[in-house]
Point group: none
Chain length 126, copies 4
DNA sequence: GTGGTCTAGACCACG
DNA sequence: GTGGTCTAGACCACC
């Protein structure tokens, strides 16, 4: 069974946390083309959140083109998935803020680089 | 004059966008110890938002230890400031999601690395 | 129903008065782990202040780690809460000034002691 | 020369910090009946604040009946000074909040008592 | 003139 | 229905 975990203490909305985790699973290849996602009810019960919250997460993934959502049948991962809008600018802005915060912690350029490399390794080698 | 820009279409609250930009300016060294920030009213007028919205952004920066906010005088950058630890875990999670999105755009490991390196360069060499 | 009272004549801001009273209720154990606070709107109406003023008070309590503030659901008291250290020095200074004022009212050392003991009793035995 | 110190980082207004320190000096008997306070200009220069700020502090002390303020001559300590309004309720409220904050730090009744006794000792034995 | 507080009221995000 | 964001605008506290 898939492990989805939610941090209720976080200020990131629950539905985003869920969507984000599925995005990660698809990006990593842990969920592949045609594979079924848990049903909304099942996942909601497992995670301990409202049905609508899970439904909202799935809708986001569908909007991004990552899953195929149909009435009556389970949500399925869409294979040749290529995320929707390029949104590169937003990613750049987001990265920029991460760098700022690392620098304000007193880290220099090399340390920031190292932090990034570790993150990439962790992603690809797991 | 300082350039602060706000995207009203974004879902990130305006006050956060403002705080984030100042954080960047301080991290980059474009704003240094003791330097004055624009007055709340001035900036609010320039950016085209309400006074309270700017005030909220300044309050965040003050809480992070980046600026000194005092009654009756302009807000000033705090020099030896080391921001309130922004929790490394959150930065890691945030980075992880950026990687996911890059991968879902079809980028491979090298391309992700390159994207990060470009971001770091852009930050440090400007 | 919770009783929160505000003195509009005081020079202490209303939002602080509200936060202070909740702090007292939690410290006294009148509000315990998991218990719900009144909704922002409800309390605002009861006390006769604006919604934002109450929200600001709740935000302070959340920042101190005393309550859990979450979108869509009521604010709740956080149990194992240990408030953000309020800096002992400040408490000492504050106490020092209270002593000065008591002395200037003509009270001697024993009377000051008695005043404090009464305050402690009142706190713990109610 | 009198030592008055101001913490610009504090959120307590400077004029109050100054008034508070004089109040302490009078309560402790370090400043006695008829004794002269430094001139507004002198003190302002020493402390590094605006003339008006010191003047405001002196005005507060005068309003409390602690000093005699006259045009043309130095401010003098008033001997049989008995602070103005009894304000006992405010002192009680203030003490109550100090107790709350100590308790929220995890201190029990005895520890709170001890904290208070230490404060009283420090005041009277210095 | 600076930042802070508060209001009334609209609209959004979340669960 | 909950808390969050933002506005327009008034008034206060501080220096």
């Amino acid at each position: 069974m898939l492990t989805i975990e939610v941090d209720f203490g976080s200020d990131r909305p629950v539905y985003r946390q869920i969507a984000e985790q599925f995005r990660g699973l698809v990006a990593r290849g842990d969920l592949i083309d045609g594979e079924e996602l848990p049903s909304v009810r099942q996942l909601a019960a497992n995670v301990g959140v409202n049905l609508n919250t899970v439904a909202k997460a799935y809708r986001i993934l569908a909007d991004e083109g990552l899953v195929d959502l149909r009435h009556g049948s389970r949500a399925r991962v869409l294979g040749g998935a290529r995320a929707r809008a390029p949104e590169v600018e937003e990613l750049e802005r987001e990265l920029g803020d991460v760098i700022s915060r690392l620098v304000l912690q007193g880290r220099g350029r090399e340390e920031v680089q190292a932090f990034f490399e570790t993150a990439v390794e962790r992603f690809f080698e797991r």
